[in-house]
């Protein structure tokens, strides 16, 4: 994927600073989205039995299924890491020092309770931590959609506590979307997946980034895909160059 670092619009920048997230509708579409869906399907078939066995052995959670090593399974999973729909935003927010930490190619089965509760991912003492959640299929309201508390990423907001019922979190905003929607969010902020009252699992990809610090650079972490990282920008993004 050629990286065309288009930065945020002024409106997006305000949204990011004040609310802590940006919704990018149609960020992936057409043939590329279809290619991603097909790769997701194929990897799911390849890996599911192993996951079921790990669940039975108590080594994996039954409430979500992450495809292991997705970057090594299909180039599309690498190509979305620096996708122009959001990479320019990330570069702007990190001052051009975006470091990719890892992907979660995740299927969440229908369950009476959301698989996770409200939480921030990292404390404010952590370097800026950003996730991009990409809906691989349509995710309607009440189908496990991502939700965020606007402004909860800012120092001095809150304090927030974890409510037993996801829908009772004060001030939260549900973010359903069509397939191909990407949500860029600041991981200091409180977020969750809402309950899924439908009969369809939620399928999404979560890409995890951080503002580069020497401690987080692991030059060997993505060596399996080194052949796909031929530009200096990509090598920097994947931490292949210290």
């Amino acid at each position: 994927m050629e990286t065309e670092a288009v930065g945020p619009t002024p409106e997006q920048k305000v949204q990011w600073e004040e609310e802590g997230y940006i919704v990018l509708e149609n960020a992936l579409h057409g043939a590329q989205l279809q290619r991603l869906q097909a790769a997701f399907d194929k990897a799911t078939v390849e890996c599911k039995e192993d996951w079921l066995q790990r669940v039975a052995r108590g080594e994996a959670q039954p409430t979500f299924f992450d495809i292991p090593d997705p970057l090594e399974r299909d180039e599309i999973f690498v190509d979305i890491v620096d996708h122009p729909s959001w990479f320019g935003l990330l570069q702007d927010f990190t001052g051009g020092e975006t470091l990719f930490l890892g992907p979660q190619v995740r299927s969440v089965p229908v369950w009476p309770v959301s698989y996770t509760g409200w939480h921030p991912d990292v404390p404010l003492s952590n370097p800026l931590h950003i996730k991009v959640q990409i809906y691989v299929e349509d995710v309607s309201e009440n189908s496990g959609e991502f939700a965020f508390v606007p402004g909860s990423h800012r120092a001095g907001s809150g304090p927030y506590t974890r409510p037993k019922l996801g829908e009772s979190m004060p001030g939260h905003r549900r973010l359903p979307g069509r397939a191909g929607t990407a949500i860029v969010f600041n991981s200091y902020g409180w977020h969750t997946a809402m309950d899924n009252a439908t009969t369809a699992p939620r399928r999404s990809i979560i890409l995890i980034y951080e503002k580069r610090t020497p401690e987080k650079v692991r030059p060997d972490a993505f060596k399996a895909i080194a052949r796909l990282c031929t530009t200096p920008e990509r090598r920097a993004l994947f931490g292949m160059e210290v």
Binding site: L52, V55, A56, R57, G58, E59, A60, Q61, P62, T63, F64, F65, S107, P109, V110, W111, P112, V113, S114, Y115, T116, G117, R162, K164, L165, T199, P201
Partner: protein, 298 residues
Amino acid sequence: MVRIDAHLHVFAKASDQFPRTATDLAPGAREESVEKFLNCMEKHAIDQAMLVQLGGTQIGEHAYLQHCLKTYPDRFLGIGLIPSDCPDPQAHMDRLAEGGGIVGFRLGTLGGPRDPFAPVDVRTLESYPIWRHAAERDYVLWLYLRAADAHLTAYLVEAFPQVRVVFNHLGICPGEGKFRIDEHGRPRIETPSYNPSQHTVYRLARYENVAVLLSGQYAFAKEDYPYGDLMGWHRTLYNDFGPDRLMWASDAPWIYEKPGYGPLTELVDELLPQISQSEKAAIMGGTAQRFLRFPQRP
């Protein structure tokens, strides 16, 4: 303030009077008597306790448990077992409970699809009749489920909100092939450092009918007493369930030798140092008294 040990085992030597199935953990010649435990209670100011059947699922194999419950009715309540191939689990449950003292039943499986993506109709689960009967008779269900069944609990808890459910041993659901007996003769369950119950059992905190035992640490911890590596798990349980749905338990007799019963009674101080005295009192007995309905002692 009442102090209750919410989960332990007593058993007699296998005999005609007290028949039981011998196991590697509890060979037929081994005895862990109720009198030995009463001495422990006396020494460590424990008022009451929940005796959990060990040594077989058949009615006759509950003889020692029933003997203890009849002999010390104001001291103990009991949890029975149900054979996995029981043709009439409801009758089995009632027969065990009719003598008084046995207030609930321990389950290790729920009997449903292994694939969490498969649709679930609770009425088709093998354990459904047990849950329905527990709802009708107000029996407690005592869960120490295999990992493969962990995801099914939410469906049953939601279907039967009136059933009191107690997850054993920090809510851990042991994985297949992960059990062994350690060098101290205790159960040992190989468990990942990342708490495998984080996204299953802990998510059931929203249901007010679900409680969790703070017990079994020795079987899961990587560190020796006071099991500092499990402090985060305890903090999460405290945050999610709160002291009114957490119950301390010893899991005797496995801990008599190491770390010893006395240190176990202080474990809540070690692993939840930040809680108030009233919260500690709840975890050490108040919650068990209310949730499990222990009788008031004279």
